[in-house]
Amino acid sequence: MRILSKITIGAAGLTALGFSAYAVAFMPTPLSTGIAPLTTVVSPESVIRSIVCSGDIVGYVGDSATISSISATTRLVSGGDIATDLTMDSTKNGAAITNSGNSLDVAATEYGSVNTESVAGYLATECGDPLNDQWLIGGSTTTGRDTIVTISNGSDVEARIDLEIWGSAGKVDAPGSQGIVIPAQSQRSYSVAGFAPDEASPAIHLLSNGAAVWATLQTTVVRGLVPGGLDRIGPVSTPTTSVFFPVFHVPTEKSIGKLLADPSYTDVIAALRFLVPGDTDATITITLDPYAEGDTQVATASIPAGSTLDIPITELSAGDWAVAVESDQPIVAAARVGFHDASTGITDLAWASAAPAQTGIASVLVPGGALLGLTNFGATDASVTVVSGGDIGENIIVPARGNLLLPVGQGILTVTSNSPISNTVFVLTSYGIATLRGLTAPIDASNVVVIHG
């Protein structure tokens, strides 16, 4: 009797367990709760977006608050007004521009060309949203090369800056690079040579406690007594594992070839500069995709952790290329291209900061006739609306893992995309070359998603 009851109850238990297991595995629940995550999407009222411009072309730096201006830049502003001119010791240089209408529409660009005994070349750089954490890659502090970092604080709050500087031999122990104070609504410039003298490949990490700042690098080249090369480099906000240069212009052999015989002209050779800020060496794959007919070139390289590495790009046919770099570690990178006009004798170079992959509205002011390069590294086609110089918007498709090159005219250029896309504007003038990027607002200030804790 006892064994019978054991078996009966046991069989009942096992059967019930079996039924429950079946229910867990295969039966959908008949219940519902109506409880959903609580988030609110808020459109902040009358958002103020301030973008900051660096100002004049700088000759030399006295102390950080005294500079000699070589030439004023031309500043193009769209969708905003100058709110503040930033102060130095006694002068003013640079400006903060505040939106007059929609905060997403404000854009500004500074450009200028110089041809003096000490500086010659062309620069054009976007003005951008201040950042607390930014990376500046480019320039050189070897003989004849000068690189100046300009930090602009357009806010009402003081900023305290820590600089970390890397070179080709590793991290540079730079005295005076910590705790730099940039007062509210002012600008300071420092020669990078002061922190890292005779450094062929500097890279700077700039951290701001307090107010966000806009920092740029201005680099100039004098070879012997001949000036030839001027550019201003904008920051990138964070190391990433994929880096894009949608326009990488390789000059013709005819224009630049004869310079290369002179060893002091090695820095007009196209190159990519990399820095791995982490502790692990990075293996990178560089994909060079020609806009003209031709084969895609792929190269791999190993980048040692903790130091910069310049990789010259030679043997490429002249024309426009799109460069994509994929890495197994977060990296920061910049691209350099050279320019020489045999007729005027002007030599120039341009540093292109990596173009971030962005969704939404990116705007940039184009100073003159230029080329817009778009890179879609995603797995699906991107539908992009490009509005140039007040034209009616053009809907174009950038194919998955593809690039597109468009001529654009002077004026405001907006690139609106629903999936991440990188853009670069390449400006080629008879005075020299420059690259610009269209940047989106740092926080999508029209729709802030608030999660309730």
């Binding site: 229910a23 988030t39 902040p44 958002v47």
Partner: protein, 899 residues
């Protein structure tokens, strides 16, 4: 001569069938005089020529005697009942005393038990100074040990031979004492009137029942006790001076009440019987006054001597004997073999403690723990206790809701370490492994008496991933349930009040911590109630006392009731087929793919299930199969609730944590596996350790999570806000702090009041709210505008929400820092351990909120909790002698106690 003028009165009431024997014994002993039978049976009785007087059945013994002797001139009365039979020589012995001693007014015989003729039923009575009646010899084997006794305070009514003059002058027995104590009172008054009372050991009669039973038939122990208490109250008040009577009455009732409470606490049946009797006696005011008057009227020689009253040492001795007898009866009835916690179990507990110290050593010495689903408890016990029945919660910007059972439970648990309520949480987490081992071991006692099986179950229980995932994710609810469940299983199969009390407390802990366990708990209770203990239903009362407000509040959305308690925290539990691995997360072993890990977990469950199938037959009792039923219900609960979003946490949907539900299944599987393994005689020695090692290996990753720093829980301070905020809010309470945390696509905004939100403030109502309150929308608006530069009027929005401080949980280089700083009305305090802190410039007047607790909840919970505690507190000593079966191994293997 007595025999010349004797009236023999036999009162027949309840035992007419014995009357013939009584009359025959009188005839056999040649007792002279007239025999009058007072027939109160309401029926005819067999007589052999005696005089019969018929009376109503309610007539008292004393009145029956009065009627019988009314027409007689006899000078002596011999009082007998229908259940008494006289042994030869009894009358002669009694009569000779009265004949020779004129001062003796009343004599009585030695009463033997009619059913057991060698046992003394009664032989002379006495009382204590405080009025308790006291049998000089009671239910003792007659070895002539009392035969030298003669002068006594009183004798019993059966066989009492009394001079008629005494009987008449005292008016017989006091009518206020018809059932008990009449003879004692009568003899006491006789002594007070100057007569002597003697018991005559040579006179022997047999009586079948007591005087009370002779009057009322079958009486229960509590009826007798009540009547005795009533008689005592009457005695004390009648013999004492009338001036102090009210005080004595009060003292009597109070004393009886105190003793009643004592009996209640010791879980005796009918604890307040004595009190009820005392009250009845005290309230009979008229009778007391009457009896007192007649007592005063005839008293000439007050009984004050100590010789006749019982001495305190006698009393103590008698009571100790009584207790021993009770204990012996209880022990004799408790012969169920049970699992004993002996040397091998203690060694294993030591091992588990050592393992626990290695695995959870990081937690030792911590002031508080937080991380995952755990936030610190309040810093003081007062705040912890405030959570019991609290209707206001500062969570979600402040909301008012029904009292939360889990908050109340944590309030109570937190007060166990009243100097630091967080300590109990730290202890629970640091000692989870040994606690679970002991719980598993004790729980195995549900099914087995073999310590080896229990050790395997305990070890498995301490190593299960369900426990260790809960620990590393800070799920204190699941940890509590894991420890409570096996103990509940053990308690629910017990039948004593003690186990009922424990079962109710443990059921409440499991249910209140993890409401999804409620169906399994209810099923277990129902199975137990059906299988023979209906009172077990009461076990659910404490859980309901905790949960009734929440149950009522959940009527609108019943499914939401089952959401996990405490801080909602998303789970990584797999659904569908993979959840049959009974892992509360995706199974993972070091260096192995998830697919292989899942497969291994499946194999473990399948093997356990197969062994449990065998155990169903091998086991001592059918409980293995019964244990699978709650497991099935728990799994079914998971099937129904698992895929649902039951709460929201930081914008993420939060489902149920399945650990406790799997625990219910695991307990059945582990027990079954252990029973089967131990049943394999030749292999049990190595299979049992292998089983434990397999469980440890399978659960390796979660088991070592705390030791390797992979757990979300970590030691913290009690504070959840910067010290500056805490100091400021201590001085100006009511101010709120807005905590902003940047996320991938926006910001997380949380409002905390005063010193920060604690564990007891996280109510289910807040976690399962379906829509945002108005003030939450305002907070969202404020947060979104704060992190961008805008013209938004922060100062007025902040003061409207009562915000005094702002914490941005981000490094100082975050872009939000400058955006927040750009707004007017805020002063930066600086970077703290918790983030960047701003102070609002304007002083904030906090809006007062209604923080009054739900009194009904507190009262109900307090009363029910008190009852459960009284039931659960052991008040009797553990049994002294081992039951033979304890030592007998169930499956026949060599008992490892001997090894």
């Amino acid at each position: 001569m007595i025999r010349d003028s004797l009236a023999v009165v036999v009162v027949a009431r309840r035992h007419p069938e014995r009357l013939s024997a009584t009359l025959a014994s009188l005839a056999a002993d040649k007792v002279p005089g007239t025999v009058t039978v007072v027939n109160l049976t309401g029926d005819s009785v067999p007589l052999t020529g005696q005089t019969e007087i018929v009376g109503p059945s309610t007539l008292s013994l004393s009145h029956a005697v009065d009627r019988a002797i009314a027409g007689s001139s006899a000078e002596t009365v011999w009082v007998l009942r229908d259940d008494t039979s006289v042994r030869p020589g009894a009358f002669t012995a009694l009569a000779s005393i009265l004949d020779t001693s004129p001062s003796v007014g009343v004599v009585g015989p030695k009463q033997m038990d009619a059913q057991s003729p060698v046992t003394i039923r009664e032989m002379g009575e006495s009382m204590t100074r405080s009025g308790y009646a006291f049998q000089i010899a009671e239910r003792e084997l007659d070895q002539a040990q009392f035969d030298r006794t003669s002068d006594v305070l009183a004798v019993g009514e059966a066989g009492m031979l009394v001079r008629r003059s005494v009987w008449t002058s005292l008016n017989g027995f006091d009518p206020a004492l018809p059932a008990l104590g009449g003879a004692l009172d009568f003899c006491f008054r006789a002594r007070s009137a100057g007569w002597l009372v003697e018991v005559v050991p040579a006179a022997v009669i047999d009586t079948a029942v007591t005087s009370y039973e002779a009057l009322a038939g079958e009486v229960t122990e509590s009826q007798a006790e009540r009547e005795e208490a009533r008689a005592r109250a009457h005695r004390v008040l009648v013999y004492g001076p009338s001036a102090v009577r009210p005080f004595r009455a009060f003292g009597l009732t109070l004393g009886a009440l105190v003793r009643g409470i004592g009996r209640f606490l010791r879980k005796r049946v009918n604890p307040f019987t004595e009190w009820r009797g005392s009250v009845a006696g005290v309230l009979d005011w008229g009778a007391i006054a009457r009896s007192h008057r007649s007592y005063r009227a005839m008293v000439t020689n007050p009984v004050g001597g100590g010789r006749l009253l019982v001495s305190p040492s006698d009393l103590r001795h008698r009571r100790a004997m009584q207790r021993d007898a009770e204990l012996a009866i209880r022990e004799a009835s408790d012969d169920t073999p049970r699992l004993e916690f002996r040397a091998s179990a203690m060694w294993s507990t030591g091992l588990a403690t050592a393992l626990g110290l290695v695995m959870g050593g990081r937690f030792l010495g911590a002031t508080a723990l937080s991380g995952g689903a755990l936030v610190p408890m309040p810093a003081t016990v007062a705040e912890a206790l405030d959570a019991i029945g609290a209707t206001w919660s500062d969570v979600a910007g402040g909301m008012s809701a029904a009292p939360d059972g889990f908050a109340a439970l944590m309030g109570i648990v937190g007060s166990l370490t009243w100097w630091n309520p967080n300590l109990i949480v730290v202890t629970l987490f640091a000692f989870a492994i040994p606690l679970s081992f002991v719980a598993g071991f004790v729980g195995a006692g549900t099914l087995t008496t073999s310590p080896r099986v229990a050790i395997v179950v305990g070890a498995g229980w301490a190593l299960l991933p369900t426990l260790h995932v809960a620990i590393s994710e800070g799920r204190i609810t699941a940890v509590l349930a894991h420890i409570a469940l096996p103990l509940f299983a053990r308690a629910i199969v017990g039948s004593s009040t003690l186990s009922l009390g424990w079962a109710s407390i443990l059921a409440a802990i499991a249910w209140v911590s993890v409401p999804a366990l409620a169906p399994a708990v209810i099923l277990a209770v129902i199975i137990r109630a059906v299988s023979g203990a209906p009172t077990v239903i009461l076990v659910m009362v404490p859980a309901l006392a905790f949960e009734w407000p929440r149950l009522i509040a959940s009527i609108a959305n019943p499914v939401a009731y089952f959401a996990d308690r405490g801080v909602p925290f998303p789970t990584g539990a797999p659904h569908g087929v993979v959840s049959l691995t009974l892992w509360p997360t995706m199974p993972s072993f070091p260096g192995v793919d998830t697919e292989i890990a899942t497969l291994v977990a499946f194999v473990v469950v399948a093997v356990c299930l197969a062994l449990t199938g065998i155990a169903v037959i091998v086991a001592e009792n059918p409980r293995v199969g019964a244990l699978l039923l709650p497991g099935a219900i728990a799994l079914l609960t998971w099937a129904a609730l698992g895929p649902l979003t039951l709460a929201t946490s930081d914008g993420q949907p939060t489902g149920l944590f399945p650990g406790p539900l799997y625990d219910v299944v695991w307990f059945g599987l582990l027990s079954g596996t252990a029973i089967t393994i131990s049943a394999i005689r030749f292999a049990a020695g190595f299979l049992a350790p292998i089983a434990v090692v397999v469980i440890a290996a399978v659960g390796f990753v979660p088991l070592t999570a705390v030791a390797t720093g992979m757990s979300l829980v970590a030691p913290t301070s009690v504070r959840t806000l910067p010290a500056y905020v805490q100091a400021e809010t201590a001085a100006h309470p009511g101010g709120a702090t807005l905590i902003l945390t940047p996320t991938a696509d926006g910001i997380r905004a949380e409002l905390q009041r005063d010193a920060g939100v604690t564990l007891v403030e996280w109510t289910a109502a807040a976690a399962t709210r379906q829509k945002l309150a108005e003030h939450e929308a305002a907070i969202a608006e404020l947060a979104a505008n704060l992190i961008v530069e805008s013209d938004f009027d922060v100062a007025s929005a902040v003061s409207e929400a009562g915000i005094g401080f702002l914490v941005l949980e981000a490094p100082p280089t975050a872009p939000e820092v400058s955006a927040i700083a750009s707004h007017a009305g805020l002063t930066s305090v600086g970077a703290t351990d918790y983030g960047i802190l701003w102070r609002v410039n304007e002083s904030i007047e906090p809006t007062p909120v209604d923080r009054s607790p739900d009194l009904a909840f507190r009262i109900i919970l307090g009363l029910v909790g008190l009852m459960a505690l009284i039931a659960a507190v052991p008040t009797s000593l553990p049994r002294r002698r081992p039951v033979v079966d304890d030592l007998m191994p169930v499956t026949g293997e060599v008992d490892d106690e001997n090894s």
